[in-house]
């Protein structure tokens, strides 16, 4: 449907000097939208703070607004030669389409140039007038809200979960090898920025269509990835969880112009559609989604119809029946969220994970996109079958990642298998009266009986209720939930494995990687388990395993927050086994044992795990020897037959986390056992090293990480009680022998003496999905920026680290400008999904490519 965009180009400030002689600029602005709409302002002569006050109106299609960014280009007028570009601004107008988002975009945007960075700011206003399209065959999907936050947004109540959505777009990369090409890098980089922005819009539009088909109105936990496949092009992937949410009306809305809440008393757009023409849930669309079974379709329709006709009370009984099958028959019962409403999770089983190594460009017979689609379908099917074998019917905290090296790529998917409350698939109003909630342990109980184990596993009676059985440890990929009782504080747990590999290419390389992968994963798991035991803990939250492949090295990094769940049995100290005991070795073992016990005691003390955890090595030894034969899997043992193993034992102890008192680390948004007071700051630290360093051994690599953590601790030395939360480590390996490690996280304080309830910053940027002691008033839209920065003067600007430092600061500045223009004051769930640094030291050149995303919101501080 047609719509109108009204754009105002008001003024600019701090423009760079483009004309040396007059020390000023003659600036004018080009405004472009899509291919057809173009206009420009007059030239404002001789000023670094020009004022145009020009207004433009473009007539556009709705789906265009979803895909195309508004392009603003500031130029310096030159009478004789061609005009010099000052910089560009890309503005995503999608937030204006959302019903309870802002209706006006207004603010100063940094003018960005790929070569010179930020050069002044320009004040832009934009407004959209649109007639909504209700046609079944429409191309646009406006009105579907996207949330990067992996939870049900604050201020909304969940009506029901509708399912997993994914979409993928493939395109040629305009110029991926910039350094060797003839075309000026600046032009090609601008082309890339534009294309990538557009592609991400297209992915969202398409996902939106699927969401509308599912009768949902939003996507939660939206994750978007750019796979730069080099000469094979670029793939933009998006995954998320479709859901229907309602805005709570009684939320303290200050009645600002953004809020259109009255409309939300009635379910909005998709539903009126449905009521009037129920048959219009066109079968073909659903068939496309469920290749299998036509029964589902009827179920699906009935459900939706019921929802609209019956009152909640009547529904309850009927629905639970119907919905069980609904969840069961949902093609992929995967949820990308990491935090769930209370009562949603019934039982947590463990991590399910699937990987596959693929060769790019090997599929000539098939459509490129189709073949990639197939790859992911294979993986998802595998995850589903894993989930089923665990007796579960849902996967929570689901993610999909891809690591590419030349023409080989590793696709990974992982999540936490769980049993969930089916009631959430129909109507959310019945959550609170679930009787099971009082128990703080039911989630930990295994969903299968001890006679019917999916694989050998040690079960014991629940330490809290003593009635059901629990495993000895639980690994999960979700955020800590209040429904599981924990003792003491949590701790960051990381495992790193680096394996050298032979340099080769094509099929041989792919084969080699897939041969290595299981060993890599085994080693990661071994480390995680060992460290967990030594910490005296028994549960992992937010486990993230990342595999990256380089030309001659394979790296796996896992990070998680470990904690002690009260329901699970206390961990037992690892046992050291040695077959051929000589006297000297026995002695050595004794001393090692002592070290282990000491380490564990220290951990127990530091993290306040306390009381009921007994570390009695002699006792344990005897127990172990009894158990050894029959139930060995419950124990963690270290076989000591060579020196390397001994070194491994020391690797398991990381003392970095205990360096400072009242200074904790965790990889999740919440820290078990600590209530945060203020959000101090988000940080991003980029570390680059020679890949040969990584190759040497895992130990060296570990040291690098510990170093990074230590320097972070030094940076926050001023603060007494602080936690580095949501830490995540990303590593990427480049073919030119470099490894890059990016550490992001947030620094938060707790137990503050003087609570300061002011919003200190004009825009709070955080990678958390919340701000401690603040309430989210309104979600204003998804911010998704794709930027490239290049430089031909790397050395002059402090080398690569100076270059990166500068670029990241600029990216944040631009993200903040977008948030402000939407009327927001915080950017939540900020994520740097892509960060790729290339350099050519001989030519003094460098280039970096960054994609960031997050939710723009308006927050208010709580005053109690």
């Amino acid at each position: 449907m047609p719509g109108k965009i009204k754009i105002g180009i008001l003024n600019a400030r701090n423009l760079p000097i483009m004309d040396r002689s007059s020390e000023s600029s003659d600036a004018f602005v080009e405004v472009r939208f899509g291919n057809e709409n173009y206009d420009k302002t007059h030239v404002y002569k001789k000023s670094l703070n020009p004022e145009w006050n020009s207004k433009f109106v473009f007539e556009v299609e709705e789906d265009e607004i979803q895909e195309e960014p508004l392009q603003i280009r500031v130029l310096d007028h030159d009478t004789y030669s061609s005009h010099d570009a000052i910089g560009k601004v890309y503005i995503d107008l999608k937030p204006l389409l959302s019903q309870n988002g802002p209706n006006l975009l207004n603010g100063f945007f940094p003018i960005y140039d790929t070569l010179h960075g930020i050069r002044g700011e320009i004040k832009i206003q934009a407004k959209i007038e649109i007639i909504n399209d209700c046609n079944e065959y429409r191309k646009s999907s406006s009105g579907v809200q996207f949330f990067a936050s992996s939870k049900v947004p604050e201020g909304y109540s969940l009506q029901n979960f509708c399912g997993f959505v994914e979409e993928m777009v493939l395109n040629d990369d305009p110029e991926y090898q910039w350094i060797d090409k003839i075309r000026a890098p600046r032009t090609s980089n601008e082309a890339r920025q534009k294309l990538f922005t557009k592609l991400s819009g297209e992915v969202q539009r398409r996902i939106g269509l699927k969401v509308l088909d599912m009768d949902a109105n939003c996507v939660l936990g939206y994750q978007q990835y750019f796979d730069l496949e080099g000469e094979y092009g670029i793939v933009v992937r998006g995954i998320g969880t479709a859901a229907f949410i309602n805005r709570n009306i009684n939320i303290l809305s200050n009645g600002n112009n953004y809020c259109t809440s009255p409309q939300f008393i009635q379910p909005s757009r998709p539903f009126p559609d449905l009521n009037s023409k129920p048959s219009k849930i066109s079968p073909n669309r659903i068939i496309k989604k469920n290749h299998s079974d036509s029964d589902i379709i009827s179920h699906y329709q009935i459900n939706s119809a019921q929802f609209n006709q019956h009152s909640h009370h009547q529904q309850q009984k009927q629905e639970t029946q119907a919905n069980f099958s609904l969840l069961d028959k949902m093609e992929y019962p995967f949820f990308t969220l990491q935090q769930y409403p209370v009562g949603f999770i019934k039982s947590l089983c463990g991590i399910v994970c699937s990987r596959s190594v693929k060769l790019l460009g090997a599929t000539n017979d098939l459509d490129e996109l189709e073949s990639r689609d197939k790859w992911w379908i294979e993986i998802r099917n595998e995850i589903r079958s894993h989930m089923k074998s665990l007796n579960c019917h849902a996967v929570l905290g689901y993610t999909e990642t891809k690591s590419i090296c030349e023409d080989v790529c590793v696709l990974s998917a992982s999540g936490t298998a769980a049993i969930v409350n089916e009631a959430f698939f129909a109507n959310s109003n019945l959550i609170s009266n679930d009787s099971n909630l009082s128990k703080k342990c039911s989630i930990c109980h295994v969903p299968y009986s001890d006679t019917d184990l999916p694989f050998p596993i040690a079960l014991s009676n629940c330490s809290i209720c003593g009635q059901a059985q629990v495993p000895d440890i639980i690994f999960t990929s979700i955020q800590p939930t209040s429904e599981i009782e924990t003792i003491g504080k949590g701790s960051l747990l990381k495992a790193i494995v680096a394996r050298p590999r032979k340099k080769c290419s094509g099929e041989i390389s792919a084969k080699m990687i897939s041969d290595y992968l299981p060993f890599l994963e085994y080693e990661l798991h071994r480390q995680l388990l060992g460290k967990l035991k030594l910490k005296g803990m028994n549960m992992l939250y937010g486990l993230r395993i990342q595999i990256s492949i380089g030309e001659n090295v394979l790296v796996g990094i896992a990070e998680a927050t470990a904690c002690y769940a009260a329901a699970l049995p206390s961990p037992i100290i690892p046992k050291i086994i040695n077959e051929n005991k000589s006297k000297r070795e026995t002695k050595e073992i004794e001393s090692l044992k002592k070290v282990l016990v000491e380490e564990m005691t220290k951990n127990v003390e530091f993290f306040g795990l306390a009381q009921d955890l007994k570390i009695l090595p002699s006792n344990i030894n005897s127990i172990q020897s009894e158990n050894d034969s029959n139930d060995s899997r419950a124990l963690f043992k270290i076989e000591l037959d060579d020196y390397r193993e001994k070194e491994n034992i020391f690797l398991l102890m990381d003392s970095v986390g205990r360096k400072r008192s009242n200074f904790y680390l965790c990889s999740t948004e919440f820290m078990p056992g600590i209530q945060f007071d203020t959000n101090l700051q988000m940080f991003t630290s980029v570390y680059r090293c020679e890949a040969s360093l990584v190759q040497i051994n895992t130990k060296k690599f570990n040291e690098i990480f510990d170093d990074i953590l230590e320097s972070l601790s030094y940076k926050f030395r001023k603060y007494d009680n602080c936690v580095l939360a949501n830490l995540s480590f990303d590593s990427s390996l480049y073919d030119d022998d470099h490894a890059m490690i990016i550490v992001t996280g947030s620094c938060l304080t707790y137990n503050e003496k003087h609570k300061d309830n002011k919003i200190k910053n004009n825009v709070e940027v955080t990678n958390l999905s919340y701000v401690p002691n603040a309430t989210i008033e309104n979600y204003l839209g998804l911010i998704n920026l794709f930027l490239i920065r290049e430089s031909t003067q790397i050395k002059e600007n402090g080398g690569l680290s100076g270059f990166m430092h500068c670029f990241i600061t600029e990216v944040l500045a631009m993200a903040r400008a977008h948030v402000i223009s939407l009327g927001g004051n915080a950017l939540l769930s900020f994520k740097m999904t892509e960060c790729m640094l290339l350099d050519n030291p001989h030519r003094n050149q460098g280039q970096c490519l960054i994609n960031v995303s997050g939710d723009a919101v308006r927050i208010v501080k709580n005053f109690n």
């Binding site: 200190k760 004009n762 944040l812």
Partner: protein
């Protein structure tokens, strides 16, 4: 201005380790990296510090109000000796080369000298395009703390009027002395506030100083002398030997001193002579008094009596009704300056 970050950081690291013993437990390279990071931040920040009103608008850094104030204050902080040297040399682009000399002389780093010089020059250039009182513009565009803004106003006033501070005889006077004098003049003497040059004195005021000529005319100077000496004798009252020596000295020098003061008032009218104001004050008033061992207190009494008693000469009042007003305006300020410089 480019800084060799790595080299600077190394120096800085040593300094930090020296000052803060607790940081010695931290690995050195971690401290080093932290410093380097801060230098990068500063590199980005500096362009905004140069025009602080922009610092509040920028989005690169989230700066709270107290940090903002601190940053500005530190960036615009100056060393008295450096500014003194900069003002002694003429403030021009060419002078950047002379900064090395200044650095040598003052024992302040060249970079710091350059910052102080650039700050000053930038403030002057920015204010050149603006109308209105200097002080108001400085606080508005540079967001300086009030005390600092006041000092900068004086420094800029001195620089713009090109007062010659480079004479050897003035070399023992500090920049604070001159700042005090400049502020006295800015506060008490009417300024012109025209667009072209808002640090000029009002033309009317300067012309009116011509009225003071009566006081140097023969017929009045003796009357004035008598009145003043009597007045001083009354104030000093206890006839110690020291006091009588003071009276004798003033009696001998009264004519010269009085003429000098009136000449100085006259000279303000000619911009070329005005540049030498401080030199004239020193050479013609302060130096003779110092030579005669007049102490500060006695000088204060003299200047006070000199001003007051001029009102007593009724003939001048008849000739020029505005005389008293103009004379007071001139004398109060110039007395304050003389007293400040008297050491």
């Amino acid at each position: 201005m480019k800084i060799d970050i790595l080299c600077e950081s190394e120096e800085c690291k040593i300094e930090i380790l020296r000052r803060d013993p607790t940081s010695r437990e931290i690995k050195e390279h971690i401290v080093f990296k932290d410093i380097v990071d801060n230098y990068y931040n500063f590199n980005r920040l500096e362009q905004y510090l140069q025009l602080p009103s922009r610092l509040k608008e920028q989005l690169l850094f989230q700066i709270s109000d107290d940090i903002f104030e601190k940053l500005i204050e530190l960036y615009y902080q100056y060393d008295s000796i450096v500014i003194r040297e900069i003002l002694s040399h003429k403030l021009s682009q060419r002078q950047r080369k002379d900064l090395d000399d200044i650095a040598d002389k003052t024992d302040v780093r060249v970079r710091s000298c350059r910052r102080q010089f650039d700050n000053l020059r930038r403030i002057i250039r920015t204010l050149d395009d603006l109308k209105g009182p200097l002080f108001k513009n400085i606080t508005e565009y540079f967001c300086l703390p009030l005390k600092m803004a006041e000092k900068y106003t004086a420094i800029i006033f001195l620089a713009r009027n090109q007062f010659d501070l480079s004479k050897r005889k003035l070399s023992h006077l500090t920049i604070e002395d001159f700042i005090y004098c400049a502020n006295q003049m800015i506060k008490n003497w009417p300024m012109s506030f025209t667009f072209e040059n808002d640090s000029d004195f009002s033309r009317d005021f300067l012309l009116s100083l011509k009225e003071l000529k009566y006081l140097s005319e023969k017929e009045f100077i003796d009357d004035h002398k008598k009145l003043v000496l009597n007045g001083i004798a009354k104030v000093l009252s206890n006839n110690s030997a020291k006091d009588s020596r003071c009276l004798i000295m003033l009696e001998e020098n009264f004519r010269d001193l009085s003429r000098s003061l009136i000449d100085i008032a006259y000279s303000l009218n000619h911009s070329k002579d005005m540049k030498d104001l401080f030199y004239d004050l020193y050479e013609r008033i302060i130096e003779p008094c110092i030579e005669e061992n007049l102490n500060k207190n006695e000088l204060i009494i003299f200047l006070e009596e000199y001003r007051k008693k001029a009102h007593g000469i009724t003939e001048i009042q008849k000739e020029s009704p505005k005389f008293s007003m103009i004379f007071d305006k001139f004398m109060i300020t110039i007395s304050n300056c003389i007293i400040q410089l008297y050491h």
